[in-house]
């Protein structure tokens, strides 16, 4: 035990020279590109971080999940492999698992449980006492020729030691989980919580177990096949009477714990979002209090983000839009962020994007950017309506406008490229403008048969 701990801790590892990038692969293999590639692939698997237990995704200690994340497997695969090996090796992997639990630090924690256990002299004493007691029991069992206990019992002596050390030294959250598992044993050993009913259960269980074991032990010399079977049944019944309620509670607690964990994660998600977005923005606003334009822009961007999260359940990532509505909102975000002009968006209906509609959105974006750059308007309004036969987007500003007959060159460029885009895809564009009254660009794109088939409100 002590040896394992030291090897995992600071002692052993540092004295060995760590294999560096150049030292691997060793000389013999260096010439072979095949080997090199393989090694490369193997090394690049996983998350590239040191091996850590994963307390988020755990069934027991999170060792399997930790290994899975480290090497880039699925946790389920690792768990299945582990269980299979356990069955084949008659339970020998269990002490190794517990060793891992003890020696591998949890993710986010600095020290492993083992480094704390080193100073826990009471725990070590308790572990040794328990181990020796177990040895006595096992010795007795082997004298009595209880074959099953003999094959599977001895491996678990180190497990008991490790378990005691983990239990006494684990962090609070891990301890809470284990306490659920060990509670009834605690109360059996005469702890605080001896409850009513337990006494009766104990008597019944002892009677059943005694009878069952007696039957089992005496009957293996007799030839009758039914009698050992009856013994097995009695033993099982005893165990069920004793531990059944406890198992039920564990099952229930596991479910409760899962949902509690989900809730905690949700809360963490909310606070993270509030911190990342709202608090950051408020801090920025305070710092730029003397620049009203900036403050308004920040507040607007933040408001929109929070709104879409609260009311629409969307996360505002930079992901590609898949519907007309999302696409228009993306234009709104980009233009407001880049040009600092508020964009008011109203969408009616929605549908999935296709090539034609992407072209429509690109033209709408161009028109919006143009309005933001040149019109001088305080606000730009974008209106998108998805109808069964066509999609219409109107971009309107109340800026200075222009005389369509005396168009400056840069504007002409816009008109041409917007017209070009639209007509290539079978749509049309009209530009209305008058000096002093603003500009309105109306874009219309017929919906292709396929997209019109999936009616108005369809979403991907």
């Amino acid at each position: 035990m002590a040896g394992m701990r030291e090897a995992g801790d600071d002692g052993g590892v540092h004295q060995q020279t760590e294999p560096t990038e150049q030292a691997w692969p060793p000389h013999g293999f260096r010439g072979s590109p095949h080997w090199h590639r393989r090694a490369e692939r193997w090394r690049n698997r996983g998350n590239g971080e040191p091996l850590r237990r994963d307390p988020e995704d755990r069934l027991a200690g999170g060792v399997a999940a930790g290994i899975a994340a480290w090497r880039g497997f699925s946790p389920t695969t690792v768990r299945i492999v582990f269980v299979v090996i356990t069955l084949v090796s008659q339970g020998w992997t269990i002490p190794f698992y517990l060793g891992g639990w003890l020696l591998i630090p949890a993710r986010g924690a600095e020290a492993s449980i083992g480094s704390r256990a080193r100073h826990d002299s009471r725990g070590i004493a308790l572990a040794i006492a328990l181990a020796s007691l177990m040895c006595v029991v096992l010795g007795l069992a082997s004298v009595l020729n209880a074959g099953l206990i003999n094959t599977y019992g001895w491996q678990q002596v180190p497990s008991v030691v490790l378990l005691v050390l983990i239990w006494r030294n684990a962090s609070d959250s891990e301890q809470a989980v284990m306490r659920h598992l060990v509670e009834p044993l605690e109360s059996l050993s005469g702890g605080q919580g001896v409850r009513r009913g337990l006494g009766w259960r104990l008597v019944a269980a002892v009677a059943l177990l005694g009878a069952g074991f007696g039957w089992l032990l005496t009957s293996h010399e007799s030839v009758a096949l039914l009698r050992p079977l009856a013994g097995v049944i009695l033993v099982t019944a005893g165990i069920v009477v004793l531990l059944g309620p406890w198992w039920l509670r564990i099952a229930r607690d596991l479910v409760l714990e899962r949902s509690a964990r989900a809730r905690a994660e949700e809360r963490a998600d909310i606070s993270a979002r509030v911190h990342d977005s709202v608090l950051q923005t408020l801090a920025l606003i305070q710092r730029r209090a003397d620049d009203p334009q900036q403050v308004v822009q920040l507040a607007r961007a933040q408001e929109r983000e929070l709104r879409s999260w609260l009311f629409e359940g969307r996360t505002l990532g930079d992901g590609d839009a898949t519907t007309v509505g999302e696409g228009v909102r993306q234009i709104q975000r980009d233009v407001e962020a880049r040009h600092g002009v508020p964009v008011e968006v109203v969408t009616v209906g929605d549908c999935a994007l296709d090539d034609d509609l992407n072209a429509l959105l690109a033209a709408a974006r161009e028109a919006t950017v143009n309005a933001a750059k040149w019109s001088g308007a305080g606000v730009i309004s974008v209106y998108a309506e998805v109808e069964p036969k066509q999609v219409e987007v109107a971009v309107r500003d109340r800026g200075k406008g222009f005389d369509p007959d005396a168009v400056p060159d840069d504007r002409k460029g816009l008109a041409q490229s917007v017209h070009g885009r639209m007509s290539r895809h079978g749509g049309s564009a009209t530009v209305q403008s008058a000096v002093g009254e603003g500009t309105k660009v109306t874009l219309t794109m017929p919906r292709s048969a396929a997209s019109a088939e999936a009616k108005g409100g369809s979403r991907r």
Partner: protein, 222 residues
């Protein structure tokens, strides 16, 4: 000039944020007469009962039942009191909900002071006030599968459709046009625009279309 000659509309503010109430009071205090305030459903009903204002500026989200509860409680006793809903919410469910309860209009809290004062005056005069967002919602709601099988036979099919003129007006409102601009764009008078909007509001409140509410509920989910 016209507004000077008339008495200022008497307004009650109902909003659970004190800061917001005092902000609104400070901003529109000249154009309207703020006679009372309330921060909750119960007190609001009491205050409105006593003061009988021309217009109640009502937050959609209130603790203890929301703006809808206030409207339906007051409407029973005093149908002449008019409500203008004001909200930071974009959820169509909330908006359509208070409009169907009887509010004469809906504006968002980001509205400018001048527009808000104008909207209050309009509501006091008995007109409807649609923000561009509400116009979008209404178009969306009335467009949603009118021919689908789930349309319950209505008592008055006329109420379940918008006329093409009404749709045009709503579209322009959704694009941020003022009534005056709409009138010029469609070659009609401002009064006609107002009557179109009022008739849309009436349809919105009286229509028995089940989709209206279902539409709003669905939007909330997706």
């Amino acid at each position: 000039m016209n507004t000077q000659a008339r008495a200022l509309p008497r307004v009650v503010l109902v909003d659970d944020h004190g800061l917001f109430r005092s902000g609104v009071r400070a901003e529109i205090g000249r154009q309207v007469e703020v006679v009372g305030e309330a921060d909750d459903v119960g007190p609001a009903i009491e205050v409105i009962d006593q003061l009988l204002p021309d217009v109640v500026l009502l937050d959609v989200h209130l603790p203890g039942g929301g703006g809808q509860a206030v409207i339906s409680a007051v409407k029973k006793e005093h149908p002449e009191v008019r409500f203008l809903a004001l909200s930071a919410s974009d959820a169509p469910e909330d908006v359509i909900g208070v409009i169907r309860a009887g509010a004469r209009g809906y504006v968002t809290k980001t509205i400018s002071t001048a527009d808000l004062a104008d909207a209050i005056q309009r509501v006091a005069d008995g007109d409807a006030v649609f923000s561009h967002r509400l116009a979008g919602f209404v178009l969306d709601a009335f467009a949603a599968s009118p021919s689908a099988a789930d349309v319950k036979p209505s008592f008055d099919p006329e109420l379940d459709q918008l006329t093409s003129r009404e749709r045009e007006v709503l579209r322009l409102i959704a694009q941020g046009y003022t009534y005056k601009e709409i009138a010029r764009e469609l070659y009609i008078s401002v009064k006609t625009v107002e009557s179109h909007v009022s008739s849309v509001l009436r349809k919105l409140q009286l229509s028995s279309r089940h989709q209206l509410t279902r539409w709003a509920a669905e939007r909330r989910l997706t």
